[in-house]
């Protein structure tokens, strides 16, 4: 049977009707992944002995997961030499939840080392490549996951965001990436980057798959005090609702965006109008402030979170940190050091308040906010260094939602003239993943994402 491009929900039915067996599925994806990994370097580790459970909603489904999730007995490196030989004695909660639902994890995906970056080029094990053009980066930091889903090496994948690390690679690889609200999904067992920002989420080829995976990984976790005790919605059933939404758009999120991207996003906005949604112009704070807030807070938290890597209990010593990690540790150390805390960290946390309030104000007028996911399409490998501020501006449109902790999704909305995918971002109210998913689903039903995902798979048939 030709399995190419089958979504999770389709695989579920095939498994149910016994048209395919769990072991067939696992070998299908493992073999594809191993075959194309020479080109894409999307995986760091294959977990050959993993078996799926016969019970649970996702029984028999093999998935890949970013290499910053602890997987018991399977090497977890966060793409850093420091953890080159680290084998966690425990599972992250997200991993536990998915295993309990019947998932087996056959591979750990490549990423920027410690999730520091937007290109997967800071990986100590070589950059992942973009399936749409292997001279290009898949984005990052969850670049391996996005690359794997885009080339159908994995039916879906679990990534993580601090600010843009799911949405931006999903956008550049032409797939779907969902960043849930902060506190919706447990961070327990995820190698910490920016603790007040980190957020696991799915990368998928259909909106329904994203809804399905979110339902399984979301919820209160007794091991993560920042997870909210808010009931998990059946996001999947909610997709069927024919809700109409008031969609906000703001000029601030089109500043510095290239024309082709702008055009694709504007076309998508007219699609939403056509299918009955109301579009409203709004004003939001310029995203550049979120970049500064994010930069200060994230570096501070990084400098703290990487303190545990001393080579005593696990991993190698601190001389094995790469340049990017050291740079971030240094800046974070500076901003927290005596006499600078108020000027940097505290100021950033105050502006964070302004950004949150800004969103709250706007969400009184609109249900969701639409924007491009990224200012441009996938860069060539090595090109990041040419951009000011180390290319960090590639995440500029993702950072406000990250700083405010609100949910956001990136879905494909066409190709640019170079044939590279363009991403559309939908941001929602805090804990309103269901509306974000519902609207993305309506867009999918209407456009099939202009066949971007489907055509992506064909490159790796």
């Amino acid at each position: 049977m030709n399995l190419l491009g089958k979504s999770l929900t389709q695989l579920q039915s095939l498994l149910k009707s016994k048209e395919v067996t769990p072991s067939e599925l696992t070998s299908y994806f493992t073999e594809r992944s191993k075959r194309y990994n020479k080109d894409l370097n999307a995986y760091l580790t294959f977990a050959d002995k993993e078996v799926s459970s016969s019970r649970g909603e996702l029984a028999g489904i093999p998935l890949s997961i970013k290499d910053n999730f602890c997987t018991k007995g399977v090497k977890t490196t966060a793409a850093s030499k420091v953890l080159e030989n680290f084998i966690p004695p425990y599972d992250a909660t997200v991993v536990t939840n998915l295993k309990n639902a019947g998932v087996s994890f056959f591979g750990k995906t490549n990423m920027d080392a410690w999730a520091h970056g937007s290109s997967t080029e800071t990986s100590d094990f070589g950059p992942a490549k973009n399936p749409w053009s292997i001279e290009r980066t898949p984005g990052g930091s969850s670049g391996g996951s996005a690359s794997a889903v885009s080339a159908y090496l994995s039916p879906a994948s679990i990534g993580s965001e601090t600010a843009g690390s799911i949405r931006q690679p999903a956008s550049w690889c032409g797939v779907i990436g969902l960043k849930p609200s902060y506190g919706r999904v447990s961070r327990y067992g995820v190698v910490a980057m920016g603790s007040s920002l980190d957020c696991p989420g799915p990368i998928t080829s259909t909106v329904e798959d994203a809804a399905l995976l979110l339902k399984i990984i979301a919820g209160k976790d007794k091991y993560d005090a920042t997870t909210a005790d808010i009931p998990v919605v059946d996001y999947q059933s909610f997709l069927q609702k024919k809700n109409t939404y008031t969609i906000g758009i703001t000029d601030e999120y089109f500043v510095g965006v290239n024309n082709e991207v702008k055009q694709k996003v504007m076309e998508s906005i007219s699609v939403f109008e056509r299918i009955g949604h109301k579009v409203k112009k709004i004003k939001l704070m310029a995203p550049k402030y979120a970049v500064s807030v994010y930069t200060i807070i994230q570096r501070a938290e990084v400098s703290s979170n990487l303190g545990r890597y001393t080579g005593i209990r696990f991993g190698k010593d601190r001389s094995f940190f790469g340049g990017e990690a050291k740079k971030r540790i240094m800046l974070g150390t500076y901003s927290l050091s005596h006499g600078y805390y108020d000027a940097y960290y505290k100021t950033a946390q105050k502006v964070r308040t302004l950004i949150i309030e800004d969103f709250k104000r706007v969400f009184n007028e609109v249900d969701v906010i639409l924007s491009p996911t990224t200012p441009g399409t996938a860069l060539r490998l090595g090109e990041f260094a040419k951009y000011p501020f180390f290319g960090e501006v590639m995440d500029i449109l993702n950072e406000p939602a990250a700083v405010a902790g609100i949910p956001a999704i990136s879905v494909p909305c066409g190709l640019d003239s170079q044939g590279l995918p363009v991403g559309l971002q939908i941001m929602g109210k805090y804990f309103d993943e269901k509306s974000v998913l519902n609207l993305a689903y309506q867009f999918e039903k209407e456009t099939n994402f202009f066949d971007v995902i489907k055509n992506g798979f064909q490159n790796y048939h």
Binding site: G307, R308, I312
Partner: protein, 443 residues
Amino acid sequence: MTIYKPVIGLEIHVELSTKSKMFCQCNADYFGKAPNSNTCPVCLGMPGGLPVPNKKAIEWTVLIGKALNCSINKLSKFDRKHYFYPDLPKGYQISQYDEPIAVNGYLSIKTKGREKKFRVHRVHLEEDTGKLMHSGEDTLIDYNRSSVPLVEIVTEPDFDSAEDVKQFLEELHTIITYLGVSDANMEKGSMRLEPNISVKEVTMEGLPNYKVEVKNINSFNFVKRAIDYEVKRHIDLLEKGQTPPQETRGFNDAKMITYSQRTKENAQDYRYFPEPDIPPLELSDQYLIEIENRLPEMPAEKIKRYEENFGLKYQDAFLITREKGVADYYENVINEMKSNTIVNRDELPQKLANFVINKKVDVNLPFKEFASKAEELLKPKQTDLLLLNKIIEKVISANSKVVYDYKSGKQNAVMFLVGQVMKEMKGQADANTVKEELLKRLL
């Protein structure tokens, strides 16, 4: 000659005796366990480990704060305190920085009949580190203790004598044991003491411009020795016109001296920031009232009550209240005996106090048994009058000089005779009866 005055403040770490650790469910009782056999992703500082605070540890910190007359911050939070040391797995200790659980309290002690009040600056909650052992070329690390709850109590620099410090610490120790929140075992290191010391000219206003911290002392006597040593050292330097350098020192308990560990130049910059993994604490009025209601009667209050209601002497009341178990026992015995004793009720508390203090009766007995033994010891003796009168005759004839003295007006002489008779009676006589009979005979 210049007169100097020591200025001393205290930092006290108390390990709580909760069942679980501070931020994970591992056993807080790490004592005697095989090395590194009591850890989990959180307390071992594994990648991805996240802290969730122990509810009881927070309650107990509030309780300690209340016992030390502090005001409790209704809003409180945890912060990360950064430094690198092999016993600290995460590269930071989760502690409390600018919003500790309790602030601005005091504790009074009574010395030489005078009450002295020492201010408590703050009481906060944090986690303990692992344990280091130095052997040969190696430093060995055991993380079993990592993340055990630790309460830090910081006083104002209100002390000017090592003696007061010692007494304060003993009182604090008693209070902690009253609260039942720590085994407060000094040998096991459940209570660790850090005096900070400086010396100024007695006429000087305010605080000296330096202080020396002596780290991790685990006995009240050693604290006293460390302070005495430091004060003398500072005075010697000041006399030479030098200011003692601000530094952290250790205490060598074999030599009873302190030694320099870290000077101001390489002082730590802890880079505190709010712990993002732990949502803040918001303590409601109702919660605070509930905890306040759990506060047992404090030893100082007990002393006062014993003085007022029982007529005990301060020193006796003090001794009886050093252990809550003993004080409770004492009161139980009194209650048991009050209803049906033939002993004079007003005298009972003091007499029982003497028994308890002098261990005349074993306080390990069930208190009812103690009560009946005490009753036996206290009740008026049955006196064999026949024998008594024989012995009185004997004593009178053997002490004619004393009898003569008595008869010529020395009233006190009779007490000597009573004593002699009691001795001959081998205690099997009631002293009052003996006196009465003697006086009759001597008429």
